[in-house]
């Protein structure tokens, strides 16, 4: 009885506080319900009777789209862009490869990064089926462990394909180059490029051609992250370090467990911290494929922003990046949701503005309940009221909105809440959120065009994730589609 009454007193206390200070977050279901105002999400029928757990997507000339599946089949669709998807035509190009997790079209061939190798698949006799399979590079180790995944990028400006190699069982380096990013040249040479990888979910470049990958929460990853593969860098997980000795790669850092990323990366200049942390259970649980929006507005006003798939939550998140003191950093926002299975590949047709996604929930559960899915998303033309991006300043942040903000609403400090936290950087699995702080937002100043709110913040913490929630209203009276952003403040920029 005593405990109960104290509990009630505590509940009353917190609810009293929340009315005064806590800004309400948009609820996932509510935001997914609004999605159809702005985006059209359509399931693309896969070949009848076939299990198409889409693991890779390649865009081909003539509006053809190829999908690779976890069972290893490659299918080519004609009509995947059409309004009437009932007439879609599928042709089987290849069968039973070994889990292709990266695919692209180049000069008359499909290229697939499959578990044992990077492969060129060519139809030399024009019958619609691949008949020549060239093993371009098979120089990384595999030992029969199901978790030794290999995710391959599209070619970079040199024609090199970047491959991120998951640890054995996601915990060990039992084969050469597990836990590494390697580049494969068109001639098949393998160039070890970064150490420090744990369990990737996808890889892709930004508009400048800098390569990024997603890494999942686990050992040495307090939470999942969106990471910049700067050549020569260490990405934070030392498990695969011993492979450095197999080439002339300099010995990667041996960081201290139980520390913080900031502390360790200041000790080791090669340690590139995650550009954007993806807070576990808040943003998602398992980030996957990466696409850069270079559609010049065809997909909405997100030019050069990064779109990241999410396996567990069956969503696509949105990231804005900036480059501060030699490092990438930026904010992640919830974006698209309601997909039918756990998403793996994410591919943007930059000319057309169609986003293709696919995935499966085999082996790892997802919010989407179907065993596999292939879908496309198109912008309907109505720009949602959103935080377009968050940009760091020496004394706070500048938030740019997609529509002019109501002046009174923008100036009211009760419409903003900010908290910060980080994770323990440790050899054990995951981390609770730690070192929480509550910075004070001292002022909010709206720009003349009404699009930018300059927040002066007392208490920025270098290395922390700064979580911003805002309830500002648009000039039109509209509310935000999503009202939370998580900014990873690797570096505090100098005053201009």
């Amino acid at each position: 009885m005593k405990k109960l009454s104290l509990f009630l007193a505590f509940a009353a206390l917190t609810s009293g506080l929340s009315a005064a200070a806590v800004v309400k977050k948009t609820d996932t279901k509510a935001s997914e319900a609004r999605q159809s105002e702005f985006y059209e999400r359509v399931e693309i029928p896969t070949p009848a009777g076939e299990v198409c757990e889409v693991s890779s997507i390649a865009l081909m000339p003539g509006k053809k789209v190829a999908i690779g599946t976890r069972r290893g089949d490659v299918w080519i669709a004609e009509g995947a862009y059409d309004a009437d998807l009932s007439k879609i035509k599928w042709t089987k190009f290849a069968s039973n490869l070994h889990e292709p997790l990266g695919m692209f079209w180049k000069a008359g061939s499909l290229y697939a990064t499959q578990r044992p190798e990077h492969t060129r698949l060519t139809d030399t006799d024009g019958d619609g089926k691949a008949d020549r399979f060239d093993s371009i590079c098979s120089k990384w180790g595999i030992n029969g462990d199901y978790h030794e995944y290999a995710f391959g990028s599209e070619p970079d400006k040199n024609g090199d394909v970047w491959v991120v190699l998951c640890l054995t069982g996601s915990f060990h380096g039992h084969s050469p180059w597990r836990g590494w990013c390697v580049r494969v040249t068109p001639e098949g040479k393998m160039i070890p490029t970064t150490s420090g990888i744990r369990s990737p979910g996808g890889i892709g470049a930004n508009e400048k051609g800098d390569m990024f990958y997603t890494d999942n929460q686990g050992v040495w990853n307090g939470s999942s992250g969106f990471k910049w593969l700067r050549p020569g860098s260490f990405q934070g997980n030392p498990t695969g370090n011993k492979s450095a000795a197999l080439s002339d790669f300099p010995a990667p850092p041996e960081p201290t467990s139980g520390s913080r990323i900031l502390t360790e990366r200041l000790k080791f200049p090669d340690f590139v911290p995650p550009a954007v942390m993806l807070p576990h259970a808040k943003v998602g649980n398992s980030p996957s494929g990466i696409a850069c929006d270079m559609t010049k507005g065809k997909f909405g006003p997100w030019e050069n922003q990064m779109l990241v798939g999410e396996q567990t939550a069956s969503q696509v998140q949105r990231i804005n990046l900036e480059f501060v003191n030699g490092l990438y950093q930026g904010a992640v926002f919830h974006f698209l949701g309601g997909f039918e299975a756990g998403l793996i590949p994410v591919r943007m047709d930059q000319e057309d503005g169609t986003l293709f996604v696919g995935g499966s929930n085999r082996g790892w559960g997802s919010r989407g309940t179907k065993p596999f899915t292939f879908e496309r998303v198109r912008f309907k033309g109505k720009v949602p009221f959103e935080m377009h991006d968050i940009s760091a300043r020496h004394d706070g942040f500048e938030v740019t909105f997609t529509h002019p903000v109501d002046a009174a609403s923008a100036a009211d400090l009760k419409n903003y809440a900010m908290d910060t936290f980080t994770y323990i950087y440790q050899a054990s699995y995951g981390s609770p959120e730690v070192d929480q702080t509550a910075p004070t937002i001292k002022s909010a100043t709206l720009s003349e065009d009404g699009l930018k709110v300059r927040l002066v913040v007392d208490g920025l913490v270098r290395g922390h994730i700064h979580h911003l929630v805002t309830e500002v209203k648009a000039k039109s009276g509209d509310t935000l589609w999503h009202n939370e952003g998580w900014y990873t403040l690797n570096e505090i920029p100098a005053a201009k």
Binding site: K3, L6, F7, A9, F10, L13, V51, R70, R71, G72, S95, N96, L97, H98, P116, E117, T119, R120, D127, A130, D131, R132, F133, D134, S135, S138, K139, G141, I142, N143, G144, D145, Y146, H147, G169, S170, F171, H172, G173, H174, S175, P176, K242, S243, L246, S257, T312, N361, R362, G363, W364, G365, I424, Q426, A427, S428, Y429, G430, S431, P432
Partner: protein
């Protein structure tokens, strides 16, 4: 400190201890894999019907704190997955509450777990950085002995290297122990290679009648019932292809049974079971269970269609991880190793079953689905007169403590890809220092017997030697005909003939640039 914040702190502390609701922890963290009803979701292991959450609390606490990985049997089904550790995320109180809930709800009322127990295990295992394996946990916290038909089971271990079953009466045992666990398990030897186990026990027949015994081994072994040898698995090959089923008539009561098992290298598995007069399925007497009876995956046969050969790239037992399986329409099958640039397995009948790799997370190796599996060779198949210069390097991996050690292995040549003709027949391509080789396989349509024709062609400016078989007993060749083990015959049809090398027990063919060899392979 202001009074209000003090009150808040006090309330928080009490709130925390009063409200560590195990059901709530379960429904936020555990439910995604184990399911709301504890029966497992998406093919992940159940808690209901499992022995794991029962018994000593320390075993369950260790699993939650540090996670678990690798092969594990749960409720009669085999899994090979990772459970992520939660020790860094969950307090002792939360773990105790969740385990108490799980044990009460899904484990038939196994006892409550206290935060102090969790605290003690956390302290004792603080240095543990990787997930536990099932073997480690069961060594520290074994299940109660299984009640099987094997009574008074005694195991004797011998060290040595044999190619066929030795006469154990002449050998000196290295270890003899009572294994009061009711099942035979090669891991009871504590070794991974070059040993033999002999188990003796009394087999308890509940009633008189026909008992059909099942035996399969990797590598080989024999079964004696009532003093007579009733089944023998010969040769060195992966499990799955040589399974024997033999009926034995037994009286009610105890009959002596003896199992001999030899492990040379690689995987070590024995499948031993029986089906009695009233049994619906196989009753397993081995720790690892054989096919069908306990397989928790559906069967997804991969077979050639419309007279066109089928390919399967995945992990195939008996060859290396970069395996490429080809199933031909005449019920002949092969597996090529991309690591060794060699066809390493041949077998007859069914090709492969995708049910295992294509459901759940697809862990582990899948044996060939057919019969008469012949292991042709191990290791690199391409050799030159001069040692490799190091321009092509692969890596040898071997266990060095807990982790693997890698050492560079210069090789003469490497796999470069393959072409598939309209009938799906493969031509594997490899290149090396001064040579290129094509290795084409197609069904033998001329002989009328189940067989394959292999055509090897070399080009470039240096000769290359191709190892056709290594480590298999050879007879011949005479007139170009070589008997390979008990099941395979290789016939030279044209071009360069193969030759045997008695010293290293290989059958090889050496091709100079422009030369070829055509070989017929037929399985008995």
């Amino acid at each position: 400190m202001r009074p209000s914040s003090l009150l808040a702190l006090l309330a928080t502390a009490i709130f925390a201890s009063a409200a560590e609701d195990g059901a709530q922890v379960y429904s936020t963290l555990c439910v995604a894999c184990h399911g709301p009803d504890g029966k497992g979701l998406n093919g992940l292991p159940p808690l209901v019907g499992s022995d794991w959450p029962k018994g000593p609390a320390a075993r369950s606490i260790k699993i939650v704190l540090s996670g678990m990985e690798g092969p594990v049997d749960v409720a009669g089904k085999a899994y090979n997955i990772v459970m992520p550790p939660q020790g860094a995320v969950l307090s002792d109180e939360k773990i105790a509450a969740a385990l108490t809930y799980v044990r009460a709800t899904f484990a038939g009322g196994a006892g409550a777990v206290t935060p102090d127990e969790v605290k003690a295990v956390r302290a004792a295992t603080a240095s543990r950085t990787t997930p536990w394996t099932a073997a480690e946990l069961l060594k520290a916290h074994p299940f109660p002995p299984a009640k099987t038909a094997l009574k008074n089971l005694v195991g004797t271990m011998y060290k040595g290297n044999w190619k066929e079953l030795p006469d154990f009466s002449t050998l000196k045992p290295a270890l003899m122990e009572d294994f009061n666990v009711g099942v035979v398990d090669p891991d009871q030897s504590g070794l991974k290679s070059n040993f033999a186990m002999v188990w003796t026990a009394q087999f308890e027949a509940k009633e008189a009648g026909k008992y059909t015994f099942t035996l399969d081994c990797d590598d080989f072994g024999a079964l004696y019932v009532g003093g007579e040898k009733v089944a023998e698995i010969k040769g060195i090959a992966p499990i799955g292809g040589r399974r024997k089923e033999v009926p034995v008539i037994l009286k009610q009561g105890l009959t002596p049974i003896r199992i001999e098992f030899v492990q040379v290298a690689g995987e070590q598995v024995i499948h031993l079971g029986y089906k009695g007069p009233k049994d619906k399925g196989v009753q397993w007497l081995s720790k690892t269970r054989g096919g069908n009876a306990a397989k928790n995956t559906p069967s997804i046969p991969i077979q050639p269609k419309d007279g066109v050969a089928v390919i399967y790239r995945n992990f195939i037992s008996g060859t290396t991880p970069r395996a490429i399986g080809i199933g031909f329409p005449n019920e002949m099958n092969l597996a090529y190793s991309g690591d060794n640039a060699a066809v390493e397995l041949l077998w007859a009948g069914k090709f492969m079953d995708g049910g295992h790799h294509w459901t759940d997370r697809g862990a582990g190796n899948e044996p060939p689905a057919g019969t008469n599996v012949v292991k042709l060779s191990d290791g690199q198949a391409l050799i030159q007169d001069t040692a490799p210069s190091g321009s092509i390097v692969r890596f040898a991996t071997e266990k060095g403590g807990k982790e693997m050690k890698f050492s560079p292995l210069p090789v003469a040549g490497e796999f470069k890809g393959y072409d598939l003709d309209k009938a799906g027949n493969p031509t594997f391509r490899s290149t090396g220092e001064g040579f290129a080789l094509t290795d084409a396989w197609a069904p033998d349509t001329a002989s009328g017997k189940p067989g394959l024709v292999r055509t090897l062609k070399a080009s470039g400016d240096k000769a290359v030697t191709i190892v056709l078989t290594r480590g298999v007993a050879l007879t011949g060749p005479s007139d170009g005909v070589t008997e390979v083990g008990a099941n395979l015959v290789i016939r030279a049809q044209s071009g360069v003939y193969p030759r045997t090398n008695a010293a290293d027990k290989t059958l090889t063919v050496t091709l100079k640039p422009g030369e070829s060899a055509v070989l017929g392979y037929s399985l008995r």
